[in-house]
Subunit: 295 residues, 4 copies
Amino acid sequence: MKISGIFAPIPTPFNEMEEVDFSHLGENLVRWGSSSLSGIVVLGSNGEFVSLSFEEKVKTLQFCRDNFPAEKPVIAGAGCEGTRETLRLARALAEAGADAVLVVNPGYYKSNLTETALEAHYRAIADGSPVPVMIYNMPRNTGINMSASLVSRLSGHPNIAGVKDSSGNIVQITTIIKDSREDFSVFAGSGSYFLPTMMMGGAGATMAVAAIVPGHCAGVIEALETGDLAKARELQMQLMDLNAAVTTKYGIPGLKYALDQVGFYGGPCRRPLLPLEEGPAGEIRSILRTLGFEV
Amino acid sequence: MKISGIFAPIPTPFNEMEEVDFSHLGENLVRWGSSSLSGIVVLGSNGEFVSLSFEEKVKTLQFCRDNFPAEKPVIAGAGCEGTRETLRLARALAEAGADAVLVVNPGYYKSNLTETALEAHYRAIADGSPVPVMIYNMPRNTGINMSASLVSRLSGHPNIAGVKDSSGNIVQITTIIKDSREDFSVFAGSGSYFLPTMMMGGAGATMAVAAIVPGHCAGVIEALETGDLAKARELQMQLMDLNAAVTTKYGIPGLKYALDQVGFYGGPCRRPLLPLEEGPAGEIRSILRTLGFEV
Amino acid sequence: MKISGIFAPIPTPFNEMEEVDFSHLGENLVRWGSSSLSGIVVLGSNGEFVSLSFEEKVKTLQFCRDNFPAEKPVIAGAGCEGTRETLRLARALAEAGADAVLVVNPGYYKSNLTETALEAHYRAIADGSPVPVMIYNMPRNTGINMSASLVSRLSGHPNIAGVKDSSGNIVQITTIIKDSREDFSVFAGSGSYFLPTMMMGGAGATMAVAAIVPGHCAGVIEALETGDLAKARELQMQLMDLNAAVTTKYGIPGLKYALDQVGFYGGPCRRPLLPLEEGPAGEIRSILRTLGFEV
Amino acid sequence: MKISGIFAPIPTPFNEMEEVDFSHLGENLVRWGSSSLSGIVVLGSNGEFVSLSFEEKVKTLQFCRDNFPAEKPVIAGAGCEGTRETLRLARALAEAGADAVLVVNPGYYKSNLTETALEAHYRAIADGSPVPVMIYNMPRNTGINMSASLVSRLSGHPNIAGVKDSSGNIVQITTIIKDSREDFSVFAGSGSYFLPTMMMGGAGATMAVAAIVPGHCAGVIEALETGDLAKARELQMQLMDLNAAVTTKYGIPGLKYALDQVGFYGGPCRRPLLPLEEGPAGEIRSILRTLGFEV
C-alpha cells in the first residue's frame, strides 16, 4: 500500500498550563476526520514533538488514533537523537495504533552524522519497527540535509515507505522520484511547493496549511488530475502567503493562531515558543480574509 | 517585448594559452544559431566573466552579436562589484550590440549589502542602462540571495525586464511570478528545475544544458504546451544527471568537456578552474551515451 | 562562589549492549577525582546526553556525585528543547546532587528562537532552578549562536553563574568578559582556545582533553599564573592536535578511543555514533605517543 | 626579512563624484607616515579594491608608495578571481613600487575552488610575482575559508611571506603558527583578536582600527613585550567596540566616518556601499568619545 494524498501535520493543543488539551484535540479531530484529508501526522515538527515527554507522545498518538476515522492513516513522529531511543518510541507508538512512523534524522552530532551513519541509523530503525517508516528530511530544523542519493538508497529497504522532504528543494525531490522505486512515496513537506512536487510525480504532501484549508488543498490535486493546469496553478498561488505565515515566517505560533481564527482550537505553544505578536496576527487575519474567511 | 524561451549561457572558449579563442567561438555560434535556442547569454557565470578583463568582455560580446542570427537576442553579463563599474560596462556592452544586460548582484561586502543597498544598486543601473536589465540571482556563487520581495519590488522598474533565478528555490520562483507584473520574465537559472518553473508560469530558462542539447530542452516546452505532462516530465527527468554534471558537480570544466564530446569546442578554462579529472570525465561520457550520443 | 578552573566534560560509558556501564564509570571517577581537575561536567555533549532518557540522566548524575570528591563540583547537563522539560530535569538533577546545571540552548525551531525567546527561556530556567545555571553555547551542534550581548544581558540574573562558550570565537568570548559582571564565569568550551580564553580573563575551561590529560591542562594555567607565557604557549600548542582529534575531527568516538588507550574506560558510543575507523584510530595513537604515552 | 608589526589597511578616499581623491589621500598619508604604524596595506578590502579598475589600482598604489616613508613597507592588494589577471596585476603593482602583494583567494566558483585549485592558484602567483606574496584569508567576504593545513603547506613556498587571517578563528591562527615555518608572518586580520594572535606567536596585525588609533594599537604590543599582561588586556578591551563598529557592524562607511571625526579624510564610498545612517554615526561618535576624542 503506497501512502499518498494530503496529510495534515497537526499541532498538539495545550491549555494555559502547557498541558496537553485532549478535549480540544478531540474536537479538532472530529472536524479533520470529516474533511477531505487523506490522513494526519501526529508528533511532527508542528506537533512540538521535541517538547513532549515519551509518555505524552504515546498518549497523544493513542488518543488521535482512537478519535480519527479508522480507514484514514495516522502517522506518528518517532524520531529521536539516538537510534535506540527512536526504536523504543517507534515500537510504543506502533503498539498504540500508529499506521506508520515518521522519523526525522538526528542532528546534534553534526560532524559525526555522515551518510554512512545516517544510513545505518535508518536501516536499524526500519529493521526493528513493526510499522512502515517514513523518512523525514527537515534541514531547516536539524541542520542536516539528507541527499537524494541517500534517500534513494534507503528506498530499497522494504520497510521504508517514503520520504517527507521539507527541504523545499525541487531538484532534490525530482531526483529522489527519478531514482527511487516506483511505489516509494515522495511527499512535499510544505504547502509552498505542493503543486510542483505533484507535477513531478510526488505521492502527496504533509503540510501545515492542510490543517487550516484541507478542501483548498484537495482542489489542487483535483485540478491537476483533470488536466486543468491553470486552475491548479491558481489554487497553489493562493496558498503561498498563508503557507509562509504558518511555517517559515511565524512557525507554530502562526499556525495555532490561524487555526483559532477559523474555528479549530489552536491555543498556546509550549515555551520556548512565544505567543504570536500583534503585527503577525494582523497579517494572518488579513491573509485569511483574502481566502474568504470572515475574521 | 517580453524575453522568453530557452537561452544557452555559453562558455567563453580559450586556447591553451588561456586567450579567448574567437575562431572556435565562431564555429560554436554557427551551430547554436541554427538550433532551436531562442537566444544566448554571453559573459554569464558559464562565460567565466569574472576572469575576463573589461576589454575582453566587450570584444567577446561584439563578436557573438556579429556572429549570431540578428533576430535572436544576445544577452550580455554586465555585473561588477561596483555600481559605477557595472554602469560603465553595461553602456559599453549595449554599444557593442547587446540586446539586454544580465546583472549579477555584488557579493563581496556581504554585511553592507542590505536589500536597501541592492535595490539602490539595481535602480541606478536600470536608470542608466541603454538596454533592458535582467536581474541575475546566483546565491551559490555570490553568497547572497535576492529575496522574492526584493525582486518583485524591482520588477516595477520599466527598464528591468526580468530575473534569472539560479537559487533553485521553486518557492521563491513561484512567489516572484505571483507578485511581479504580468510581462516580467522569470527564468530558471539551471536545467534541473526548468519544467517546474515553466509549469508555475516562468518565461523561460537560461541553462548550461541548453548549450549541449538545445533540441531536448525545446522538447520540454513543446510537450508542456501540448498538454502532454507525462512526456514533459520524462524529458525533464532525462536532463537531471547531465545538468548536475555540468553545473553543481563539476562546473564549467564539466560543461566544456561535455561540449567537446558532442562536436562543439569546449577547451580549457582559465585558472583557478582546473581541467576535469578522468573520473568525472568518464561519468559525463556515460551520461551522454544514455542520452544517445556516441562518445 | 565563582565557578573556575579546569573541568572535564566526561563521556557516559556504555557496555556492548549500549547500556550505561556504572562499573567502569566508577573506576574512571576514582582516577579523575584524584587528578588536578577542578571538577567534572556530566551529561554534556560528550556525555551523549541527547541519547539518554530522563531516568538515565538522573541516575548517572547521582552516581557521579556519589563517587566524586565532595569538595569538587559536579555540573550536570540539563538542556532540553522545551523550557518546561528543562526545568523538570534541572530540578531532578539538583535533587540528585548536581552543584550547578549546564543548559544548552534549544535549537530545533530555529526561526522562532529569537534572542527574545532565548532570553525568556533562560530566565525562566534560572528563576526555577534550585542550583546555579551555566549557559552552554554550542553553535556547531545546535545551529544557533548565542551572541555576546545576549549572554551579557543574562549575566545580570543572580542565578546564572557563567557560560561555557563552545563557539571557539575569541572575539565573542572577549566581548562577553568585557560586558559581564566581574564574577561571571566565562569558560572556554574546548581545549583549542583554552590559553587565549584564560589570557583574556576567562575563568576556566570545560574541555574534552582534560579528561585525557588533566595534568597537562593544569600546567597551562600554572605557567600563565607564573608569567611564563612562552611555556604556556608551548603547552597549549601541544594540546592542539589531540584536541582536534577528540572534538571537531572524530568527536566522541575519538574521545572514547583515546581514553581507552591511556587507561580509562572509553568503550562504545550509542548509535547513531559509529565506532572509530582504523585510520583515525592510528592517528590518535600517534598523537598520544607524541605526548609521551606508550600506546 | 619577516613582515611584522601593525599595518593599517587604508581606505581609498573618493570625492563626491566617486573619483579617487589623491589630494586628501596625500594628507592622510603624511599623518599615517609619522605615526607608530609599521606600514600600510593599500587596495585591501577596506580600500574598496573590488570597485576600482585595474588602472586606478596601479595609480593609487604608486601614489601611496611615493607619499609614504620609504623605510616603511607598502603592501598592495592584488587578488582577482582569475590566476592570470592576478599575476598581471601583481606585476604591475610591483613595478609601481609595492613591497609585497596581498592576495585574497578567489571565491566566485565556490564548488570548483577545492584546496587543490587554491593551492595551484597561489603557487602560480608566488612563482610569478616579483615581490613576496601574502595570503589573505577573508571568509566573511569570499565565502571560502582557507584551512590551516592549506596555509601551512603554502608557507613552504619561498615567495609566500605570510598570511593575513581575517577569519577571526583563533584556533586556526594558532594551528597555522604551530605548523608553518619560523619566519612565516601570521597576521591578525582585524583588531578584535589582535592581542590573542600576538600572544599565540603572531607577527602582527592588519586592522582597520590602526588607521584611526595607531598609537593605541602600538601600546598593546608594547605592554605585551614588557610583560604587562593586564595592561595589554585592558588596551585590547578598549579597542573592541570601535573595531566592531568599523568592521562587522558598519563596514567601510563606518571606518570612513570615524576617520572623518578624528581629523583624517574619510569621505564617501563608491556604491553599492551607502553612506552611514545617523544612528550608527552617533554610536561611532560615542565610542570615539569613550576613547578620549572630542567629537
